[in-house]
Amino acid sequence: MTRDPTGTVKPDLEGELEVLRIYQGIIREHPNWSSQEVDEALVRAVYTPKRLRRVQAVFNWVQQALVKLIQRESAFASANKKLLIQNLKQVRLELPPPAKVYEDEPDLFTKNDVYYERLSSGGVRLRIGGAFLFTSKSWFNLVFTVAHELGHAIDPCEIRDTGGSIPAYLQLESCFVQQHWMAKVKPGSECSANDQLSETFADWIAVQVTAEALKYYATEFSRAQIVGAAVNSVRDLCEQEQSLDESDNRQHPASIARIDKIFGRSPQIRKVLGCEPASKQDLINVDYCEL
């Protein structure tokens, strides 16, 4: 039972069943409505003003947190900082209503998927499945999820694909491999189908942002509440381990690596949770990737 005061994180299936019950209710109440009419009613019931405000607030907070993180990072040259911040600010949070906002992917209304996407036109957007609004009520889970997706706007592969270059990322990439956060790929195969670099980076940066969020509330929450919040921030990663087969782990590191290594060994997370190192040797032995 979580003690996260901001809300719970349910299994994905529960969130989807909840939205589907609403969907079925609308269809039964209006048996002569077309699929489009039903979807318009569904998005009003799912993407309510209150839920939209919450998601927008998290998006704004995460975007600002990432900008500040980049601005204070001395490993980035000024030109690189400008590019990264520009990439972050270009991302549009795209949410219904009306239903036509997702007219190319209306099945998203009843799913948990949250994703960043670069369009062929060059535009970039972040979309949120309707069921996710029922699955994830915890502010910290929202923060981690949005930070992960927004992190893709500045991940090494995205930068490469858009013709940019961030020298500071090279050291980070080597560290990811050395720490076994991701598998090494053959030279020339970086950012290919089997490379986990994008997802590992997105997790890594989401952990930084989540640590900031936890630190922000550390003075207001009790220790148990902070622990509950930390658990909730990555709770859905546990479920993903059960539902995925090998094919999805081509792009994502295994859940155990994500939770244990990338999240659990973060010095910032450990500090917020009160896990002080017992000795100087412990400090040396905690290997964590940083810029």
């Binding site: 299936l13 269809i27 039903v38 190319d104 099945d107 998203l108 998927d113 062929s120 290919s192």
Partner: protein, 157 residues
């Protein structure tokens, strides 16, 4: 996001249950029951990955009617009988989708394989037809087709 489009067309004895099972690209999970009916007229199956989950919509037409169900990671989301006329209309939409998808230009070879949200559409009617594709910014329309299928399932009799 990139698109990946492959297609295959094979003619088989579509009315044989064993033939359909052998040609199906996705096996049902342990929590899904596969009805055992003696005569199969047609079927539609759409399997797809979205986010971290595997989904499936399956509609099977028998002499007695049309059974449909949808599932996520092997767990049933919805099931029941659907209207035969509406099922026939949906089958036409599936057929049209497959025809249109094949008419689109193939993506450059170097981006093949980078597909996070693949899908498979299988239509067994007068022949057995399977299409494998990738959901992406190119808008093949798979999301809309899935939505039509979901609407049919949840409008069940």
């Amino acid at each position: 996001m990139q698109k990946l489009l492959k297609s295959s067309l094979s003619v088989a004895a579509a009315f044989l249950v064993s033939g359909l099972i052998a040609c199906s690209t996705i096996s049902p999970g342990p929590r899904e029951a596969v009805p055992n009916h003696p005569v199969l007229a047609s079927s539609v199956e759409i399997s797809y990955i979205l986010g971290h989950s595997k989904y499936r919509i399956r509609m099977v037409e028998h002499l007695n009617g049309v059974n449909a169900h949808s599932s996520s990671d092997g767990k049933v989301l919805g099931d029941g009988r659907v209207d035969r006329v509406k099922y026939s209309e949906f089958k036409l939409k599936v057929s049209e989708f497959m025809r249109t998808a094949r008419a689109l230009k193939r993506v450059p070879a170097e981006v093949e394989g980078v597909c996070r949200n693949p899908f498979t559409v299988t239509l067994a009617d007068t022949a057995l037809d399977t299409l494998i594709g990738c959901r992406g910014g190119g808008d093949l329309g798979i999301g809309r087709l899935i939505r039509e299928g979901e609407f049919l399932i949840y409008s069940k009799k």
